[in-house]
């Protein structure tokens, strides 16, 4: 048990209710931080940058990829920002900001992960605008000048002990606000975050596994979210899907699971023209249909998803059922493939299965 576990837990659980005993107080006490209120009034490029007045924030990219031999791959890059205290940041070692990042590469028979931490205030990690750059150690998400949005052309790199990657992601589409114009409700008692996505990246780049370089191409999805008090008592984990349908539409679905078996379900249908259509709980059905034994736990790695309003009824299969993020705070995250009413690929993230 190191400090990292707490931080990872805090960072991850900040968006989920699955706060273990003892973390709950911290996780729910948002006094002094900026509050998440509607309307969101997102503005770019400003909101690509950090929001230090809020307690927690992340920059999160997933990519479903394919190599020259037709093998499927997945890649993940996440940078978390966490504020330890509200108020002005004195900088230096006394900075209130701490940073955490995860990276992963998933193939059909391998899943590599890496994790790193940094204090704010000294330049080891941070996010700046003009041009956009998010970095921690030698990991980076950096934008090149491009017409359109400030994140329309980004290069993402990460380096773990036994893998690494460099991915170039471009899009012409604007960012897509989630929830109510970017105001995303996370519980029935008012927990919320600001949340937008960029689900239309075309990705090309190179994976490096055990020194072997693998050129890949595919699709990428960027999520941005920040909040101060995202947890509700009694929530124990979440299941989150990002789907890229071959039809061109994108779908985001999540269920925040409560300890009593109920769940707060939400989602967005994003049509091929990048218009968001928020989904009401009644629009969504998410049902686990297959389980795998992963890291000593029973994890629902196969799902049946339905959004009748848009005639979606698909089954999901993981590329690698053992996409276990063996980081200080462990969770399942990996690429999936869809079959049924629609074909396509996506990413699944599941937390709180202990």
């Amino acid at each position: 048990m190191s400090a990292r576990i707490w931080l990872a837990a805090l960072a991850l659980l900040a968006a989920t209710p699955a706060a273990p005993q003892g973390y709950a107080g911290l996780a729910t006490d948002a006094e002094g931080y900026a509050a998440v209120t509607a309307p969101a009034r997102l503005a770019f490029p400003r909101d690509h940058g950090p929001h230090p007045a809020f307690r927690i924030e992340w920059w999160y990219l997933t990519a479903t990829l394919e190599d020259a031999e037709g093998r499927e791959w997945g890649a993940q890059w996440t940078l978390f920002r966490q504020s330890l205290a509200p108020g002005p940041d004195p900088g230096g070692w006394e900075s209130t900001q701490v940073w955490l990042a995860h990276a992963a590469v998933t193939g059909a028979d391998t899943h590599r992960t890496a994790e790193t931490y940094a204090r704010g205030g000294i330049g080891q990690a941070g996010v700046t605008l003009g041009p956009f750059r998010a970095w921690i150690d030698d990991w980076e998400m950096a934008a090149a000048p491009a017409p359109g949005d400030a994140l329309a052309d980004i290069t993402v790199t990460a380096q773990g002990a036994d893998f690494g990657y460099s991915l170039h992601a471009v899009t012409e589409a604007p960012p897509v606000p989630q929830g109510e114009d970017g105001f995303s409700v996370k519980s029935d008692v008012g927990q919320a975050s600001y949340y937008y996505s960029q689900p239309f990246y075309r990705v090309a780049g190179t994976l490096e596994i055990d020194g072997r370089r693998i050129p890949v191409t595919g699709r990428g999805w960027l999520d941005r979210e920040w909040s101060s008090q995202p947890l509700a008592a009694g929530q124990e984990g979440w299941d989150w899907f990002s789907l890229a349908l071959d039809s061109g539409a994108r779908v985001m679905l999540y269920a925040m699971r409560n300890a009593d078996g109920s769940a707060h379900v939400s989602g967005t249908w994003i049509d091929a023209e990048s218009r968001p259509h928020p989904l009401a709980p009644g629009d969504i059905s998410m049902r686990p249909v297959g389980y795998s034994q992963v890291a000593g736990r029973e994890i629902p790695t196969a799902w049946h998803l339905e959004v009748p309003r848009f005639e979606l009824a698909v089954d999901t299969e993981p590329l690698n059922a053992h996409s276990w993020m063996d980081t200080s705070f462990a969770y399942w995250e990996g690429p999936i493939r869809l079959s049924g009413s629609h074909a396509g690929r996506g990413y699944l993230e599941m937390t709180g299965y202990d």
Partner: protein
Amino acid sequence: MTGLLVLGALAGHWRRHRLELAALFVGLAVATALWSGVQALNAEARASYAEAGAMLAADRLAAVRAQDGGLFPRADYVALRRAGWDVSPVLEGSWRRGDLRLRIVGIDPLTLPRQASAGTDGGFEGAENFVAFVRPPWRALAAASTVARLEGVEGLPPLEVSATLPPGTLLVDIGAAEALLGTEGALSRLTLAPEAAGRRLPPDLAGHLRVEPPGEGAAETERLTESFHLNLTAFGFLSYIVGLFIVYSAAGLAFEERRPMIRTLRACGVPARLLGAALLAEIVVIALAAGLAGTVVGYVIAAALLPDVAASLGGLYGAQVAGSLSLSPSWWLAGLGMSVLGALGASAASLWRTWRLPLLAAARPEAWLGAERRRHRLQLGAAALLALGTLGLLLLGTGLLAGFAAMAGLLLAAALALPPLLGAILRHGAARARHPVVQWAWADSRQELPGLSLALMALLLALAVNLGVGTMVGSFRETFTRYLDQRLAQEIYVRAADGAQAEAVADWLAARPGVTAVLPFWQAETRMAGRPAEVNGYDAHATYRENWPLLEARPGAWDDVAAGRAVFVSEQLARRGGIGLGETIDIPTPAGPWRVAVAGIHPDYGNPGGQIITAREEVGRHWAEADRTRVGARADPAAVPEILAALRGTFGLGPEQAYDQAAVKAASLAIFDKTFAVTVALNGLTLAVAGVALLTNLLTLANARLGRLAPVWAAGLTPAALARIEAVRIVALGGLTALAALPLGQAVAWMLTAVVNVRAFGWRLPVEIFPGQWASVMGLALATAALAALWPAWRLARSSPLALMRRFSNER
């Protein structure tokens, strides 16, 4: 069954000769006591170094450090992280408040490698602990003893007990360390995760950083303190040897006295093997009992000396040593082992002779005179050989160990030469004596000499070492005091909170009436000749030129230093680095090596590291991170208290930040005295052991002597007259030994100052003569001898003629 009978018969001897048993017991116990005590001190100190070295797994993880051993910018850490290096920053330093001195270790818990966070007792694990640890007012983790010691001390973060931390150490967040140490944006080292250990530093950093293999920190403390521990060990060993002298003579005496009994037992059919085994068992049992007692006494001695040892090591080397003893079972076993080993070694000759005792050889009076002559010739030969070996070691040996070996050789040679010397004096005296009683007294003394010689040798050694160490410490103190008087020429010293405050203080002082000169000085750290060295930059001012002593200097040396053309190096740095006057040296700086000439060599007594003196601007030019907080000032002595009070009031400085000359001098001398407190204490204990040796020896001999005195009594001398002669003779022998110890002590002092000190610390001292010490040693020797003579003389005076008569007839 026979074995038990034999043991019973042998034990009967001890029941009749309780004093001899006591001598054997005391000899073994004192031999074991000081040796174990010293070992306990060394073990405790080394355990503390190891503990400190193992902190943050520094004994297993490599580290990145500045080439010059000093601080380096935090930007270097960020650059390495940005280049993908798994490094974690550490800021380390010393925090002082009055007498209190703490090692501050600042870490970043987020990047600390897993291996390094083991043993921090979870002090920053869990959400609340983590936030409390990294956010002001922070939290400091420390050993329970440290926390107890710091009760009520202000200016520290809230303390929390962490059982696994070394003593005198606070583990804090790196932000807290910056606040406590008054640095900003600088680091001491980077802990390197094992996966990154083999990498090469990027070219732009390789110029001023280096990768250091695991365990260097502890190894450095070990190296620095090595001479200190060797000193302690030498004392322990000396006491051990002196104690064994007692054992040897007591065991020999017991053998001589039991010779008839052993012969009888053998004649009764007891096999030699059984007899030998019984004697062996007997000595082992006595050795175990005495060893246990000695180890207990050693523990008490160590516990009593440990605070002084800890203070010395802290003051001299900045090494933190626990203030309480925690000893392993192996230490106790080692104490017992040393006792048994010593007992067996000291009684081996006696055991062998018992084994080989010719069964039928009649008791025959020893042709002692011829035997003595032969023995003395042999001893003289051995002494000459040893002296030759010592000379060889002095000329050819280089290390500290060789220095100690040479000293041991000198002492042993002198000890071996003592009995022949005393024998010659007695022979000479006997030849000149005219009165028959006097003639008898001289002759009898010669006969007694072999029995006494071991005790006298022990006394000689102890006296000589006592004198030598006393002279060395005394000379050192005189030199040091004189040196402080010269070196501490300024009346006022200020250590400001930071460079800006130092400038303000300097301006304030310059404007103050009564202040005649303001002399700020800057300080930086580097490494020279494999050890830390400080670089001190001063302004060109007459205060330094006129007061500061130089051991060697080129003409115009001060001008060259003021102009930045040259530097002075301290004596120990010059010696260690083989740096001669006029040579050019490369001083590592953050901006690369600084090549400069050496214009002078200055004394810097008491500093285990090196020192370089240069101009103030040079320090500023080569070390951007130099310590700019120190200001000195010359002032009218009468105005000093008033100026200090105003200074403290204006800038909110504590007494440990603004002080006068007298305070520095007192503090320096206090450190000095603490440093040698242990040496002086051990020295006294060794002398006491020698006194005990002489005493027990004489007491055991006294009984045997009755037989020899009987004929003299029969010839008409009264017991009272005999007692007087006895007392005079023993005191005279003690006095002669003490006389011999005087030149030997001076030789020991020379060896200590000119050989051992130079090799251990790198400085050489002028040896001075202290007649007062000579007189006290002489007096001590005579008093010991008198005390030892008192009891036998008293017994003799009280003995009835009948007892003497019986002895006379029995012995014939």
